[in-house]
Every structure is written in structure tokens, then in C-alpha cells.
């Protein structure tokens, strides 16, 4: 049936996300219905039983993330999908996955908030919740798709990154991208990378689930049910996984879960650049907003403004490297976001005052229009 792969089809972003999960080997999904993410659970519930996987609708989002972490610990590749309110409920167990270093993927199809907000309208309101929503020092990986195709490819990336870094990874989608339909040609199996979980280097008696490999990397996570009986806890723990209050061990643990991600920020940074070469006005955007910003760049160019777009695909960890390279050529940076300025703070920090950074926020439940971003940018540029 391989000839069926690789033809064009009309897909919704959420559908593409679910297919991406299956393509990456996700064989367990636990979720709770919430607009605008529910199609992901629906597709998983339809496909997983026929593909040797298991789906369960849990009693709430707290249970959903708990179930996927449990499943992952038992060897599954596991995912859940939600939106703002559900993502808030997941925060405590997201922290558990971070400190216990258990791979899992959380898709957040963002909607307008806070609280119930506007369930059917888009927002990018959870950028900082993704980074800091759970208590305690930790790091997080989050990617933001801008198209239906990226809903597929980035879900694959999220699963792969969660396995590689043994950490929860967030696909930070939004209502526009999740519900948009586009004609896409999904890559055929075998043409994209799928990271499989490795077996531990050591046998049962020497196994340190939180120890280092001989190459200095993190020890692969053994699955419950094999020969490596081990302990997992949300308490700070030693390399064997048992609770510890020894200062040096606690310090090393927390620095470890932050450093393993933050140290790779530049490597994980991924961008789309558009008309950047000679640009002195930068639109820095992500997700569905970046699609609009691209049109605005064209409008600004037509008006004689040397505008360019830097669309970041990686939201967290935030890399300063590309912005640092650009800072001498930039006069003005506009960061359009469907929030009141969340990622713009990072842009401002990365540029250290080298350019005028303007947060252009929109929180009325509507996506930007190109005219709005163009008009704002013209005004900010004094034109």
C-alpha cells in the first residue's frame, strides 16, 4: 500500500497532528475533550485501536497527563492534547514528567483566555504558561506550527525530542492552525526521522535511571515490566531514583533538568526567514500570526520599508543567537502576538537594547489582518 503514501490530501491541522503522532510511533493517547483540540483525540480514538495502540478518555486533564506519563514509563510513546484551561490543569504533572525525566508530548491548541475565555477563538496566550506554568526550576521544549504540514512534521519532532531529552515536550499550536484546512502532501514513512527509545546500557543491578551514559548522555529510560526494577518519584532523587535531600545531589538534579535543554537552545532553534538580508525592520512572529506577518512584510516592502520576517518555530528553549547576529542591522522589531506581549519579552532581552522592540498584542479573539500589522509597523517606524 506504499503507493498510497505521498499524494495530496486536504487535512485539518489537528488531523495532521494526530497523524504525525502515529507516524512518530505514538501508541498511547490519553485525553479529555476541549475545544479547539478535540479533533486530535477523535482521530486518535479512531485510529489507535486499529494500529495496535490504546486510547483512553480520562476523567480530566490532570488524569490525562498522568496516564500518558504512566504509559510512557511502561514503554509506550504517549501523547495528550488540550487547550488553555486543560493545560493549566496539567501543570503539576508536567512538572512531574520534567523532574522524573519521562518523555511525553502535550499538544496545546491555544484559545483565548484566561479561564474559559473564548473557547472557539484563537490566541497565543500560553507562551509563558508553557515555560513557567509548573512550579519549580525546570526547562521545557515547545514548538509552534504555522501550517497544516507543520502540525504533522512538528508533532513528529516533538515526539523525537521528548525521547532524546527524556522530557515533556509541548506542541504549541493555536486555534487557527489547528482548525485550518490545507492541501498537503505528508511525507511518506521512511522519509522522516523517528527516534526509538534505547535500552539501558547496564543490567538490572547496576541500573541508574538518572545516571549518565559512558558518553556523558542521559541514561536511557527502562520500561516497567522489563528486568530493570527501579523507583520513580517526584521528590528530588539520586541517580538511582531514590529520594534525596543531600544538597549536592539536589542541586545537580535541578541543574541537570534545566541544563540538558537550555544548553542545546541554539541547536534546537529553528526559523523560517523571509526577506531578511537587507531588512532593518523585523517582524518576529510564530504560529498562525507569522502567516499574517509574512503578508505584512510584502505590504511593507511595497511601501518602501525594508521589512523582513523571522518566524521562530522553536518557542522554548529561546535562543538568542540569531537575534544577536541580526542586531546591528535592525532598527525596529515588531513582535505581533495574540497576547499582550509574551515572547516579545524574550526578543527584547536577546537584543539588549540594540533595536526598538515593540510588542503588538491582540486579545480580542481574532487573528491579525495583514493591514493591522502593516499599519502598526508603519506607525512605529514613524512613517
Amino acid at each position: 500500500m506504499s503507493e498510497r503514501a505521498g499524494t495530496k490530501q486536504v487535512l485539518q491541522g489537528n488531523e495532521a497532528c494526530a497523524i504525525g503522532a502515529l507516524a512518530a510511533g505514538v501508541n498511547f493517547f490519553g485525553g479529555y475533550p476541549i475545544t479547539p483540540s478535540s479533533e486530535i483525540a477523535e482521530v486518535m480514538s479512531q485510529c489507535l485501536p486499529l494500529m495496535g495502540g490504546r486510547f483512553i478518555q480520562m476523567e480530566d486533564e490532570i488524569a490525562s497527563i498522568a496516564a500518558i506519563v504512566g504509559a510512557s514509563l511502561a514503554g509506550a510513546k504517549a501523547m495528550t492534547a488540550t487547550s488553555g484551561p486543560g493545560f493549566s490543569l496539567m501543570q503539576e504533572n508536567l512538572g512531574f514528567a520534567a523532574i522524573a525525566e519521562i518523555p511525553c508530548v502535550i499538544v496545546n491548541v491555544q484559545r483565548a483566555g484566561p479561564s474559559t475565555g473564548l473557547p472557539t477563538q484563537p490566541a497565543q496566550a500560553d507562551v509563558q504558561q508553557t515555560r513557567w506554568g509548573t512550579h519549580g526550576d525546570h526547562s521545557i521544549i515547545a514548538l509552534a506550527p504555522s501550517s497544516v504540514l507543520e502540525c504533522f512534521t512538528m508533532t513528529v519532532d516533538c515526539v523525537n525530542l521528548s525521547e532524546r531529552f527524556r522530557t515533556p515536550v509541548v506542541l504549541l499550536s493555536d486555534e487557527v492552525v489547528g482548525h485550518m484546512r490545507e492541501s498537503v502532501m505528508l511525507p511518506a514513512p521512511g522519509t522522516y526521522q523517528v527516534v526509538h527509545r534505547k535500552s539501558p546500557e547496564h543490567g538490572a543491578t547496576d541500573y541508574c535511571p538518572y545516571g549518565e551514559c559512558e558518553d556523558g548522555g542521559l541514561q536511557p529510560l527502562a520500561a516497567f515490566g522489563g528486568e530493570h526494577r527501579f523507583h520513580v518519584t517526584g521528590l528530588t532523587h539520586d541517580p538511582r531514583g531514590f529520594p534525596t535531600m543531600v544538597k549536592e545531589e539536589v542541586d545537580a538534579k535541578i541543574r541537570g533538568i534545566v541544563g540538558k535543554i537550555e544548553d542545546c537552545a541554539d541547536e534546537l532553534a529553528c526559523y523560517e526567514e523571509f526577506m531578511l538580508e537587507d531588512a532593518d525592520v523585523l517582524l518576529f512572529a510564530y504560529g498562525s500570526t507569522a502567516r499574517v506577518a509574512k503578508s505584512s512584510v510584502r505590504q511593507l516592502r511595497d511601501a518602501g520599508v525594508k521589512a523582513g520576517l523571522l518566524r521562530t518555530k522553536t518557542i522554548w528553549p529561546f535562543s538568542d543567537a540569531r537575534l544577536s547576529e541580526l542586531k546591528d542591522q535592525l532598527k525596529l522589531v515588531v513582535v505581533p502576538e495574540m497576547n499582550l506581549g509574551q515572547l516579545s519579552l524574550e526578543v527584547e532581552r536577546a537584543l539588549c537594547g540594540a533595536a526598538d522592540v515593540r510588542a503588538y498584542g491582540k486579545v480580542d479573539g481574532d487573528l491579525f489582518t495583514p493591514d493591522e500589522i502593516t499599519g502598526y509597523t508603519m506607525e512605529a517606524a514613524g512613517l
Binding site: 500500500m1 490530501q9 485510529c47 485501536p49 514503554g75 503539576e92 514513512p189 515490566g225
Partner: protein, 301 residues
């Protein structure tokens, strides 16, 4: 070497993690011992047992037993356990929980676990108080009894764990106390052998927090209370409701057959995998369905 020492050496992480954090005389040691004896009697490999817990004194139990052990967040043990069991059904999955953990913060997970009937066992260690945090009243603290947050006596009324489990649809529900240690082991064994979701409530003693505030000076006094105020299910059937006031029944309260979740899910999955319409509908969404399905299935081998 006595049989119990051999059991301890085999099943406890005696070289690493003992002694426990529990107070001297705490009933949790009796419950842990009952659980270990039940697993030993069934004879399942330690590799094939997972013990999951939430937070609290009972939450520490997995630390000490040499199985696949998972100490999670407060109240969420059963939700994590659900994922473990669904991903690896061959595991015997036990969730060890206290009364606050299972019935307050984890109450939602508890009733839905009862309803779903996934083949797991919940052990509810009910000491009627939040022990680890210093004695605040819990959902099973009796009306009028004291806690550090009920200094004038508890205004609320207690949950009856067993009635809650039965009402929510658990297919095996039993109760005993730490005074009845041998019965506790036997009931856990029966629960573990039961195909479906099983709940064993074990009334326990927190003399340190509950006892101190409620005129139970010692663990012995609390265990004697359990002896004198528990009635076997059979005997309770012959008693008038008035005679049972202030007492609790012990033994197997419910034991019934109902399709187990994973068995039912897998049966449905097998039928749908052979259903041309279902397969065609999935192919409409996933063009590379066959390759991807092969990829997923091959990982199970």
C-alpha cells in the same frame, strides 16, 4: 531464616531504603507486609509488579518494595497507574493510597477507576487523618472528631470508602483493619486475583496525629478499637442497623464479574481491525495507514 525475614529480604529494598519514614507503631508497615505477602503467595515475578502511589505517608510505600515503583503527585496515583496498565497489561498494578489521597484530591480518579473496571488493585490505607502534614481532618475523619484544622471537632461527615467504591461500580470491594493483619493479606490476595478493578480499604492507625487529638494515646489502643468495633460481613447481615452504629464491617463486600476494560478494548480493536468499513475510514485519513500500522505493531514484538 524465618519465612517472614526471607519475605522481607526478597521483597523489600532492605539494603537501600529501610527503615521507613513512618512513626513507630504505624499501621502502614502492616499494610505493606500484607501486600508483600499477597504478591508472594500469588508467586508473580517482581519484574511484573508495579506499585504506584500518590502523596502522603502511604505515598512512601513504593519506595520500600522491590518492584517497579512509581511515587507520583497527590491524588493522582490511579491515573498514572491507568497509563502503566494500559501500556503494559501483563503487569500486576497496585495503587497504594491514603484516605486524603484517594478520596479528597484523588476522589475523581477513584470513582472513575471504579467505573472503568481496569484490572488493577487499589489499597486504601484509611487512618482518618492527613498524617504527613500534621493531622488535618480528611474526608474519612468521623463527624465530631478532632484534627488540627478541626480543633473544635469535625463539622463534616465522613465518606464510607466501601459504599463509594460499590456505588461507583468497583467489581471487588473489601475492607478490614490493620488489627486483622492476616485477613488484610488474604483480602489483598483475592483482590489481586480478581479480574477487574478491586478496592481494599484497610482501616489503619495514626496515633501520632489522629490519636493525639482524639484520646487514643497509643497504637495499641487504636488497634483494640478496631478489634472491638469491626464486624464481619456475615455477622453484620444478622444485626440490626442500630447495633452497627459506630462500627465498620469487614470482609468482602462486593465480588462480581463484569467485562474488564482492556479485554473489552482489545476485543473491540480486533473486530474493528477486521472490519472493512472501519479500516477504509482510517485509510481516508491516513494514506500511509498500512506502513504506519506495521511500524506501530512491530514495536510490540
Amino acid at each position: 531464616m524465618s519465612a517472614s525475614i526471607e519475605l522481607a529480604r526478597t521483597y523489600l529494598r532492605s539494603d537501600k531504603k529501610l527503615p521507613t519514614v513512618w512513626c513507630g507503631g504505624c499501621g502502614l508497615g502492616i499494610i505493606m507486609s500484607a501486600m508483600v505477602r499477597a504478591v508472594a503467595k500469588i508467586g508473580v515475578s517482581k519484574n511484573k509488579v508495579a506499585v504506584v502511589s500518590g502523596i502522603g505517608c502511604t505515598g512512601r510505600m513504593p519506595t520500600y518494595v522491590d518492584f517497579n515503583t512509581l511515587h507520583t503527585t497527590h491524588g493522582r496515583g490511579l491515573a498514572f497507574a491507568t497509563g502503566v496498565k494500559l501500556a503494559r497489561p501483563e503487569l500486576m498494578v497496585i495503587a497504594a493510597m491514603g484516605d486524603g489521597d484517594s478520596l479528597a484530591i484523588g476522589g475523581n480518579h477513584f470513582i472513575h477507576a471504579c467505573r472503568r473496571n481496569i484490572d488493577m488493585t487499589a489499597i486504601v490505607a484509611n487512618n482518618q487523618i492527613y498524617g504527613m502534614t500534621g493531622g488535618q481532618y480528611s474526608p474519612t475523619t468521623p463527624h465530631g472528631k478532632r484534627g488540627t484544622t478541626a480543633p473544635y471537632g469535625n463539622v463534616e461527615h465522613a465518606f464510607d470508602t466501601v459504599s463509594l467504591a460499590v456505588g461507583a461500580g468497583a467489581t471487588f470491594v473489601a475492607r478490614t483493619s490493620v488489627y486483622h493483619a492476616r485477613e488484610a493479606g488474604n483480602l489483598i490476595e483475592k483482590a489481586l486475583r480478581h479480574k477487574g478493578f478491586s478496592v481494599v480499604e484497610i482501616v489503619s492507625n495514626c496515633h501520632t496525629s489522629y490519636g493525639r487529638m482524639n484520646k487514643f494515646a497509643s497504637p495499641v489502643a487504636m488497634l483494640e478499637w478496631m478489634r472491638d468495633n469491626s464486624v464481619p460481613v456475615k455477622a453484620a447481615e444478622r444485626m440490626e442497623p442500630g447495633e452497627l452504629a459506630g462500627k465498620f464491617t469487614r470482609g468482602i463486600i462486593v465480588e462480581k464479574d463484569k467485562p474488564e476494560f482492556i479485554a473489552a478494548y482489545d476485543d473491540l480493536a480486533e473486530r474493528m481491525s477486521a472490519d472493512p468499513t472501519a479500516v477504509a475510514n482510517v485509510r481516508k485519513i491516513i494514506q500511509a495507514y498500512d506502513q504506519m500500522a506495521d511500524g506501530l505493531k512491530s514495536r510490540d514484538d
